[in-house]
């Protein structure tokens, strides 16, 4: 019986493969955009302009406070009201990269603040401009501090990408949902889907733990 179901599920390999491709593509694209915006957010949050930092903090808090599912619905259903019509894929990328940017922004800000003030003062004393201080002295050290949490954030991003299946995007979770409609064995179908996610995420979790151990060793 098990083999019969397994054969039927694996008969849907084109759907599974398409879902896997969508999950990876969506996550990677959102990751690149999210990291770029997130670093900008972080620099503003840790920066000297207090009002700009507070306004951005409020914006970030809004997206940290609400469930990602609600954010996906907001992008998909509210943006059209103000005249921005997005495809399901574009809506998924916007929602996912926006949320990633908010979380990464706070991580980057914390990393920048963790760099001792003496480093910046030394850079200032050697005549660097503010951009040079950031690029050559502060940011490289901050990146070293935040790398483990960033990798952890990537894992969350990949997992959160499953939520966009709610607006009909054919990702790995949606593929499982479609297959389970005709192969009535949820344990098997979502077991296979789970293995798919595990293969993508586990190496990253492992990497994050390893980096964390190494960075702790560096600071001892």
């Amino acid at each position: 019986m098990f083999w019969f179901y397994l054969e039927r599920v694996l008969g849907y390999w084109p759907v599974l493969l398409k879902g896997l491709g969508m999950t990876i593509g969506l996550s990677l694209l959102s990751l690149v955009i999210g990291v770029a915006i997130g670093f900008a957010f972080g620099i503003i949050r840790a920066g000297r302009n207090r009002w700009l930092s507070r306004a951005l903090g409020l914006y970030i808090d809004l997206f940290r406070a609400t469930p990602f599912l609600v954010q996906v619905f907001i992008v998909f259903f509210i943006l059209p009201v103000i005249g921005i019509e997005l495809s399901a894929f574009a809506a998924g990328v916007v929602a996912l990269s926006n949320m990633a940017a908010c979380f990464i922004g706070e991580i980057v800000a914390a990393g920048l603040k963790a760099v001792p003030a003496g480093q910046r003062e030394a850079a200032l004393a050697s005549g660097m401009t503010r951009a040079q201080q950031m690029r050559l002295v502060v940011m490289p050290q901050a990146v070293r501090i935040i790398t483990p949490s960033l990798v952890g954030q990537f894992v969350l991003l990949i997992k959160d990408s499953s939520v966009v299946s709610a607006i009909g995007l054919l990702d790995l979770t949606r593929a499982g949902w479609l297959i389970v409609q005709s192969v009535p064995n949820g344990l098997l179908v979502f077991g296979i889907i789970g293995i798919g996610y595990f293969i993508i995420c586990y190496p990253l979790i492992w990497l994050s733990r390893r980096l964390e151990r190494r960075s702790q060793a560096a600071f001892l």
């Binding site: 609400t66 997992k159 790995l172 499982g176 064995n185 949820g186």
Partner: protein, 222 residues
């Protein structure tokens, strides 16, 4: 954009939103209790020395952490009936949320216990305290102080994650907001009401974590 918000409809649906809010509160509280129990057990199993007891706990934590909650939820929702276990959706949701958060709680508690410097335990040994006394008087009080904030952080994640239960037709805050969207074709009003509900819970938990941090931080250790 917010100027066009139909507050009359929002008020009309206030009882339903309130019901949804209470449901989210209940789901989160029940799942939190389950997650803490699972987390303590899984943590205890991972830090004890017997390999064959450690393995299942490690597999549990890693399997949960490497897969999305939605897939876990569907796994139980479509899978349990297969095993002849028929439960109401709400029960399935609480089980899935507890299992999911339990793995993260286990990691949080474990890192709290492991963060106690070895010297503290050794100092306890040299003053002649037994294992249980060392745990009760030295390790756990310190571990608790550093653990509470991340536990509240995970609880915030748990509250937000409970919105996914709307996808297996559990009526909670997200689902209640969708009622306005579906009945009245007003997605904006529904989503704004929903988001406000989660904001209240978020700020309540966040300020609780902050207050705890202020009162209980260990000098010199953050």
């Amino acid at each position: 954009m917010l100027g066009g918000l139909n507050t009359r409809v929002m008020m009309e649906y206030l009882p339903e939103i309130w019901q949804g809010f209470l449901a989210t509160l209940f789901l989160s509280a029940a799942s939190f209790a389950g997650a803490m129990v699972l987390g303590v057990i899984a943590c205890a199993l991972t830090i004890q020395p017997l390999r064959w007891l450690r393995a299942p706990a490690v597999v549990y934590v890693d399997a949960i952490r490497a897969t999305p909650l939605l897939a876990q939820l569907y796994f139980l929702y479509f899978g349990l009936p297969r095993l002849g276990v028929v439960l109401p959706e709400m029960m399935i949701g609480i089980i899935a949320l507890s299992l999911n958060s339990g793995a993260y709680m286990a990691e949080i508690i474990r890192s709290g216990i492991l963060s106690i410097p070895r010297g503290q335990v050794e100092a306890g040994m040299s003053t002649g305290l037994s294992y249980l006394q060392r745990m009760r008087l030295i390790v756990l009080p310190q571990a608790l102080r550093t653990t509470v904030s991340p536990v509240i952080g995970q609880t915030i994640v748990l509250v937000k994650d409970s919105s996914l239960l709307s996808l297996i037709s559990v009526v909670e805050l997200t689902r209640a907001g969708q009622r306005i969207a579906i009945d009245r074709f007003m997605p904006v009003e529904g989503l704004v009401a929903t988001a406000l509900g989660y904001l209240v819970l978020y700020y309540a938990l966040k300020s609780a974590a902050g207050a705890w941090q202020v009162r209980n931080s260990i000098p010199g250790r953050g």
